[in-house]
């Protein structure tokens, strides 16, 4: 197997947002990374070409982003009717593209790259594998760049580290008869050490200990080339994928000598069952009869898979490793080989070693070659996230049912990774980071819930599109773009109906995030900007009276009113269908009306008594609060609560999303809001001045919350302040995600269930309340 690599970029503009960007792009623009392999693609009928080229290129993507700017309240703007100014600005973000296409299209592809290539100083393309030799001249001629060959295995490992670190559901276990057949693993913060078994023509077994330290500890000459070469000789079938199809239909027991063929049954003393293969191809030695192509192909597949599995187990045992990732063209998403390898590993390791596969296995070499080109960059300055809008998913395993999807994926498959200019890390307060799974329900496993949520998102789609158009009244093309958005997201939902595993574990979070990615793709950076603006403005007008009314209450009444306020505030959620309908129809729906909607105690989950007892004790040192919605939620729910905590002597860290998602309050918006509250409230003001109240950003733009991928600055602050209380608010952050998360300190998860299906599932009704106060496990 070979690979080759290419990178390109769109014209850059200087910008002040990313101090490191200019340096980084200059290098990356010149790294073109790609990979060519011997693998024929699947599902292509009548196409004799078939080798694939993987190409990685870097681009900067110009996006509209929503900006908020406070008016100058000291001057004449003071009586401006709006709280702050909203504008959409152009922002340039970095994106990595990985494309897979048939070699036949390489010229077209190189033309595309040439058109988008930036004029830069260095003229080098990083390339790896056989394609580096094969297409060297073509690339050099077309692009006027020198091809710089990189070591294949080094690139492979670099790529592997990259996807394992940056894509949470990268690795999966394959279970042929399972539902789902793909079981995704949550990538733990520490991916090392691991074993990578690359099955190309031959087999390489590589032990990876750190980012830069790895060793080829062994290998075997019996690999994909043996299957293909020997298979072609035995069956006169030329193509790799056809051989696999033959194998899938064959009966190996006609060709292999089984234990029962020798013993007449099982070899009981050793506990070897009769169906064990005693001798591969053993029957073809003793008879003059003909064997079917299918049977021989199957026997060959077993022979090779078993041999590789055995070898992998022997190496895993020798190096005391239990996680083995498999890659190479022999594996590359083929269910047949994933199954036989998994089977063999389970057999030989007695279940002690786990065979793991990678969603983006085919891109590893190209990614690695690309990263080699960007080597001087400091990877600690940013992180990457998969863009669901721009990536095609893992292909279906049922070629007969979805031939279209399959052939499309085989021909042109892509992965896009957005660069986040911050480093993301675990929340240090997680009780056990290695077992933390953000999502409460895995929709790939729960078919009923999957059905519900997919329909729910489908039904809400038109409303979201309308909202998007409304957010840009001045843009003429808004309707057109909204339609495109609607189509794109609809298609994604249909893909997910058939292939729930396409982007890793399907969750409510991934559905929400995919929608945000699609909106961004069509330049709707913040459809709710105006709604949020208005809500914030209105809520601020009630702040003082809410505070006054709270202050008039006795201590215990006040605590309950504060919690009720928090919950009522949380009703204002445009992400929830039931609420958005109310909000759309009833302009007057307010804080008091929301309180009326709330379930009376005892709540669905009710540890309020425990909480109030706790409040009678000593104050917390520092509380970290993940906030949810704009307007009434943050202003009339959260801030009075924060104020009370501060009064008790507890420091507070307020964590808001870095970018927009639904009507969730963003970090920038919260800065304006807090400024206005501080002007009204001396407690808030002095806390801000003394740094007892700090606003931070989470690093994400999701309505949900993944506590294993949080902004590093937040994590450091949380540690610094000796945070001993975590408060998570809202359905997205406390129910869909983190409901089962455990912490090293006290935690409070609260939300109003604004979805009748979910409420019912949890045993409650619409507007049921979850108030979950927990102390750390003993």
């Amino acid at each position: 197997m070979h690979s080759l690599a290419v990178t390109s970029g769109r014209p850059q503009r200087p910008t002040s947002w990313f101090p490191t960007r200019e340096k980084a792009t200059r290098k990356q623009d010149n790294a073109i990374a790609g990979e060519e392999c011997d693998c024929t693609c699947r599902g292509q009928r009548g196409n004799t070409g078939g080798s694939l080229t993987k190409l990685a290129y870097y681009s900067t993507v110009q996006h509209k982003v929503a900006k908020v700017k406070s008016f100058d309240h000291t001057g004449k703007d003071a009586d401006h009717e709006l709280l702050y100014e909203i504008s959409e600005q152009e922002e340039i973000t970095a994106r990595l593209h990985f494309i897979k296409f048939e070699n036949t299209y390489i010229e077209t592809c190189l033309d595309f790259i040439k058109d988008h290539l930036v004029n830069t100083e260095t003229k080098v393309i990083k390339a790896t594998g056989g394609g580096a030799y094969k297409f060297k001249d073509l690339i050099e001629k077309k692009l006027g760049l020198n091809v710089d060959k990189e070591d294949e295995i080094t690139c492979l490992i670099k790529g592997c580290n990259f996807v394992l670190k940056n894509i949470p559901h990268e690795a999966f276990v394959y279970v042929k008869h399972g539902d789902p057949e793909f079981r995704f693993q949550t990538t733990h913060p520490n991916i090392f050490p691991y074993l990578l078994v690359n099955i190309g023509s031959g087999v390489s077994v590589i032990k990876v200990e750190t980012e830069d330290k790895f060793e080829r500890i062994g290998g075997s000459s019996i690999g994909g080339g043996t299957f293909w070469g020997l298979g072609a000789l035995l069956t006169k079938t030329k193509r790799f994928d056809e051989l696999l199809q033959l194998a899938a239909r064959g009966q190996h027991t006609n060709v292999d000598m089984l234990v029962k063929d020798i013993y007449g049954g099982a070899y009981q003393i050793l506990g070897l069952t009769g169906n064990l293969i005693a001798s591969s191809f053993g029957k073809s030695a003793t008879a003059d009869k003909e064997f079917s192509k299918e049977d021989m192909a199957k026997s060959l597949l077993h022979m090779i898979s078993n041999d590789i599995g055995q070898l992998a187990c022997l190496y895993a045992k020798q190096h005391n490793l239990s996680q083995v990732y498999f890659g190479g063209f022999f594996i590359r998403g083929h269910p047949v080989t994933m199954h036989t390898i998994t089977y063999s590993i389970n057999f030989f390791s007695k279940g002690e070693v786990q065979a793991l596969f990678l969603r983006h296995e085919g891109y590893l070499g190209a990614i690695g070659a690309f990263l080699k080109g960007a080597e001087q960059d400091n990877p600690n300055l940013y992180s990457w996230g998969e863009n669901y809008a721009g990536s095609s998913g893992l292909m279906s395993t049922s070629p007969d049912i979805f031939p279209m999807q399959r052939s499309r994926s085989g021909t042109f498959d892509m992965l896009e990774m957005d660069r986040l200019e911050r480093q993301v890390v675990n929340l240090p307060l997680l009780y056990d980071p290695s077992s933390y799974i953000p999502d409460s329900v895995d929709l790939t496993e729960d078919a009923m819930a999957r059905e519900y949520w997919l329909s729910c998102f489908e039904e809400a789609l038109e409303g979201v599109a309308k909202r998007a158009v409304a957010s840009q009244p001045d843009a003429k093309d808004a309707t057109d773009r909204a339609q495109k958005f609607q189509q794109k997201y609809w298609n994604k939902l249909q893909t997910l109906r058939h292939q729930p595993f396409a982007y890793g574990s399907l969750t409510v979070r991934s559905l929400l995030d995919t929608r945000e990615h699609c909106l961004n793709e069509f330049n709707f950076p913040d459809p709710y900007s105006k709604v949020k603006q208005k809500e914030n403005d209105i809520a601020l007008r009630y702040y003082q009276s809410v505070i006054n009314s709270l202050d008039s209450l006795a201590w215990e009444e006040k605590q309950f009113a504060l919690v009720k306020g928090l919950l009522a505030g949380n009703v204002f959620d445009w992400g929830a269908k039931a609420v958005s309908e109310v909000l759309e129809s009833d302009q007057e729906f307010g804080f008091e009306a929301a309180k009326q909607k709330l379930q009376a105690r005892p709540w669905l989950v009710d540890s309020y008594s425990k909480w109030i007892e706790r409040l009678k004790g000593p104050p917390h040192k520092c509380a970290l609060i993940f906030v949810d919605n704009s307007g009434i939620d943050i202003i009339l729910g959260i801030f009075p609560f924060v104020r009370e905590l501060l009064s008790r002597g507890t420091e507070v860290i307020l964590a808001c999303n870095s970018g927009p998602a639904l009507n969730d309050v963003t970090f920038n918006e919260s800065l304006i809001v807090i400024e206005r509250i501080a002007a009204m409230d001396s407690i808030i003001q002095s806390a801000l001045q003394d740094d007892r109240l700090t606003l931070v950003q989470t690093g994400t733009s999701s309505p949900c919350l993944d506590l294993s991928r949080l902004d590093k600055g937040l994590a450091m602050l949380v540690k610094e302040r000796n945070t001993d209380l975590v408060i998570i608010e809202g359905m997205g952050r406390a129910i869909h995600t983190n409901y089962y998360a455990t912490f090293q300190c006290e935690s409070l998860k609260l939300a109003v269930i604004k979805n009748s299906w979910l409420a019912e599932r949890l045993g409650g009704k619409l507007f049921s309340v979850v108030f979950k106060y927990e102390t750390p496990p003993l």
Partner: protein
């Protein structure tokens, strides 16, 4: 015969390979360090009365040991050469016939062969002096053998046969129904080890049974070096029959089966039949000795132009077995001999590689290769000797035994002689 690759994944639930150390049972019965009752206890033959009454010191003649593998049946026969006149007179006709038939022929029927060169002369067993004969025939001709046993009225001796290998189970009923013979079924791995240790101890007609190969890469200089297996423990015993079993042996009666692979002699021969149309193992080997595997295999240098220094792979190492056969032009350019050679090299290298990993994991440096795959197969022996030493950087050494595939049958015979 030994075996075991995993079951085809289409089947449900693969068995677990028992790695527990086993203790070879003494002739009195199982000493089961693993605790499991042994199959053979339940198969004490009904011919017991005759046995008990006749054998004061030794069992009655004829003395056979049988090992029925997946491909070959191995039969060892002890021919007493110290028969007294009185004995001869008493000897029943059928017994005499059998002795004469076996010792006066070197071939039996179409496919039975006596390996005359392996005969052990002047051997004393159980107080009797004689010759040990080594006979083999294909397992698929078992019915012919049984017919012969019937014709020669073997059953009139009211005897039973000590047999090991899978066929002891598979053909048990046929032996009884067709040949009128009862089988005493013995575990093949127990027999294998007993046989190896016994045969090594008696030597090979004055020469050494065990040997290593020096300078295996150089056909001119390559030579057998005798080795004394007297205190060989621990040793890794690799039995290459149709499939392969790998045993770690810690003492004469303490061993465990480490693993096995289904890529064995049966795979070599089976693939050769399909690829070249050959019909005998000898033919396959003959072709292999004439071929050039580098036309079939993709070597490291075919990919990297030379050595792959980054990972210490020499250019001549095979990167992908049969890798060149992915290309149509190259498929059209290879001969049957090349294909046979590549098949042999592929299977041999793979066994060597698994054996080496096992030796490292078990911390054993002596590896003894036995089994009929190695019969008249100097190509594989040299390759195993070379590969083991090269890839272990001299830490491991390969040994071979002259009697290759007969140890199971010898072990079965020993059981007969030591049973009370």
């Amino acid at each position: 015969m030994a075996q075991n690759g995993p079951v085809g994944p289409s089947e449900d639930g693969g068995p677990q390979e028992p790695a527990a150390r086993r203790r070879i049972s003494s002739s009195e019965g199982p000493t089961a360090s693993t605790g499991a009752p042994r199959e053979r206890l339940n198969s004490v033959p009904r011919a017991r009365p005759r046995l008990d009454s006749l054998r004061r010191n030794r069992p009655p003649f004829p003395w056979f040991g049988l090992d029925i593998g997946g491909t070959l049946v191995k039969l060892v026969y002890f021919e007493p050469r110290d028969i007294t006149a009185e004995e001869e007179q008493e000897e029943v006709e059928s017994l005499k016939n059998i002795r004469k038939y076996l010792t006066s022929n070197v071939a039996y029927g179409q496919t039975g062969i006596r390996d005359v060169h392996l005969e052990l002369k002047d051997l004393t067993m159980c107080g009797r002096k004689g010759s040990l004969h080594f006979i083999r025939f294909p397992t698929q001709d078992m019915s012919v053998f049984l017919q012969m046993a019937r014709d020669k009225q073997f059953s009139s001796l009211h005897t039973f046969l000590c047999a090991t290998g899978g066929g002891a189970y598979k053909f048990e009923e046929d032996f009884l129904n067709v040949g009128g013979l009862e089988l005493w079924k013995l575990d093949e791995l127990d027999c294998l080890i007993k046989g190896v240790l016994f045969i090594d101890s008696v030597g090979f007609n004055g020469q050494s049974q065990c040997f290593s190969l020096e300078t295996p890469k150089d056909p001119e200089k390559c030579q057998k070096i005798p080795y004394n297996l007297e205190n060989p423990y621990p040793l890794l015993l690799v039995n290459i029959g149709s499939g392969v079993s790998i045993l770690a042996v810690y003492s004469k009666d303490d061993y465990k089966r480490v693993t096995g692979t289904s890529l064995g002699g049966g795979t070599f021969f089976g693939l050769c039949c399909l690829l070249t149309g050959c019909s005998t193992f000898e033919e396959a080997l003959e072709m292999a000795s004439l071929g050039d595997s580098t036309k079939v295999d993709k070597l490291v240098r075919d990919i990297y132009g030379g050595d792959y220094d980054r990972f210490g792979l020499p250019g001549y190492a095979v990167a992908s077995s049969f890798g060149n056969m992915m290309s149509k032009e190259k498929r059209d350019a290879v001969s049957k001999e090349d294909l046979a050679r590549a098949t042999l090299i592929t299977i041999t290298n793979n066994i060597g590689s698994i054996a080496r990993m096992c030796a490292v994991n078990e911390n054993i440096s002596r590896v003894v290769f036995v089994g009929n795959f190695l019969r008249v197969n100097t190509v594989s022996m040299k390759l195993l000797a070379y590969a083991l030493e090269y890839w272990s950087k001299g830490q491991l050494k390969a040994f071979f035994l002259e009697h290759e595939g007969y140890f199971g049958a010898v072990g079965a015979l020993l059981e007969l002689l030591t049973t009370t």
